[in-house]
């Protein structure tokens, strides 16, 4: 018997072709070197900032809810009302658009228009939309409401349309065979199939809208973001920490309760 060849098992590499593998590694390394060398960092400023950063971390342990209490309350009220109204308005608009963007329900011209609207709403980010709405409608939560509504349409419309396209066609056929009209078809064959998911998505969007409402205030569209920016500009870290804690608490609460509602609906 020949001597047994000692072999050890080696894991197969992620990229099978050796040359491609080294090319990828080399390219990644080259990019990293280029990228890190072009990042301009003012280390003296960073060093100065470390003390401030530490002060900020400390302020989380002694948040100041009272000094700017009325501002925080006003900001939260604006954010919350904006979130609710924009989510409801967004759902109302995105349901017809979502139905129009489902190929199995809508004729081609309507389908293209609705898909175009959805693509437009998804391509533009909240902050950029907010800048324009603030320029058009003036500062304040009304511009924020419009921004959130506009972005809700793209999100809900797309997901609803995909959901409608995935429904069980046999139920549609069954209802159609009873001689139902198109509205009856949507109401009795499509709506029951997509409703649980629509409710789930709406709650998820409510959650997102609240988070976004904290951001668009930075460009003047009302809400808690404006209060936060003022606090940071004045270096009032204790107030800023209080605002952030309130935001985190509400987001956690919303996430927790929406997951419960979603479980209950489905």
């Amino acid at each position: 018997m020949a001597t047994a060849v000692r072999r050890t098992w080696r894991r197969p590499p992620l990229v099978a072709d050796r040359r491609l593998r080294w090319l990828l590694y080399g390219g990644a390394l080259l990019y990293l070197v280029l990228a890190t060398s072009t990042v301009e960092v003012n280390w003296a400023r960073v060093w100065d900032g470390l003390g401030r950063g530490w002060a900020f971390v400390q302020s989380f342990f002694r948040p100041d809810f009272t000094t700017r209490g009325s501002d925080i309350l006003q900001g939260m009220i604006e954010s919350l009302t904006m979130t609710v109204t924009a989510t409801v308005a967004g759902i109302l608009v995105s349901v017809p658009i979502g139905i129009g963007a489902a190929r199995n329900l809508a004729p081609l011209p309507i389908y293209l228009v609705c898909r175009g609207l959805i693509a437009l709403s998804r391509a533009l980010q909240e902050v950029i939309v907010a800048i324009f709405f603030v320029a058009m409608f003036g500062f304040g939560p009304f511009a924020g409401f419009l921004t959130l509504t506009f972005n809700t349409i793209g999100f809900l419309g797309k997901l609803l349309a995909e959901d409608i396209e995935d429904i069980d066609e046999t139920q549609v056929e069954a209802i159609r065979s009873t001689g139902a009209s198109w509205p009856q078809l949507v109401n009795w064959a499509v709506q029951p199939q997509v409703m649980p998911r629509l409710i789930g998505l709406s709650l998820y969007r409510l959650d997102i809208n609240f988070r976004e409402s904290a951001v668009i205030g930075i460009v003047g569209a009302g809400g808690i973001g404006a209060t936060l920016e003022t606090a940071m500009d004045r270096y009032e870290y204790d107030s800023a920490a209080a605002i952030l804690l309130v935001i985190i608490a509400i987001v956690m609460l919303a996430e927790y309760s929406s997951s419960h509602v979603r479980k209950w609906v489905q």
Binding site: V41, L80, M82, A123, Q125, F137, V215, I218, A240, M252
Partner: protein, 271 residues
Amino acid sequence: MPLLRAEDRTSWRHRTPRAQLALWFGWLMLVALTVFSWEVMTRDTIWAFVADAPRQAADIGSRMVPPRWSYLEQLWWPLWDTLNIATLGTLLAVLFAVPVAFCAARNTTPSTVLVRPVALLLIVASRSINSLIWGLLLVAIVGPGTLAGILAIALRSIGFIGKLLYEAIEEIDPAPVEAVTATGASRLQVLDYAIVPQVLPAFAGITVFRWDINIRESTVLGLVGAGGIGLKLQASLNTLAWPQVTVILLVILATVLVSEWVSAKVRHAII
């Protein structure tokens, strides 16, 4: 599904009368809440500005065209910065998110009592705060510039990558873990040979997905001073240079579309 017996015939109803009533009440509360919110929200709205909006929109629109294409050559450098903010931020986030995810997953955490809650708290805190707000904070701390942007993106992404990764880790097939453990492997070896190979595709997909979102977010981080093409946007908006704004928005749109295409391709190749 209840049947309604009225006089001599039986008819089918979708819901019982009680369920119907509860449903209507629920809708009523929702409408009431919305109307109330609307009232509170629009209390300080100046309707003259709202009525004026179409004219303002037409005005801005007419100022925005034609775009000043010559401005494009000033945008390549900020665009490179934007790409770096997104990519380096994602890489930095991965470095922190991987250990956090392994600490948060129920089947790999060193301790469910001590370590897991801390890891989950880290993930929630990072996820609740948008990268623009992280940018706002970091500009105040480390000063304006690309570094603040990279850190902002990283801090936001830790929660995102961490959450999706730990859910992927919890969903792995336990059989390979058992098999590798049966060979006498140490905990680290089990991690390396049984768990990591199972979550690697999901991990790559999540990372590329987040990179795509980060490109999107890093384009506007400059609005709070955190570097990238957003700085140019802010400068152009402040000087009311609308033709430049158009060019910047088109560049942002093109970047977002390219990054979306790249991430879709890469995810398609992985999965």
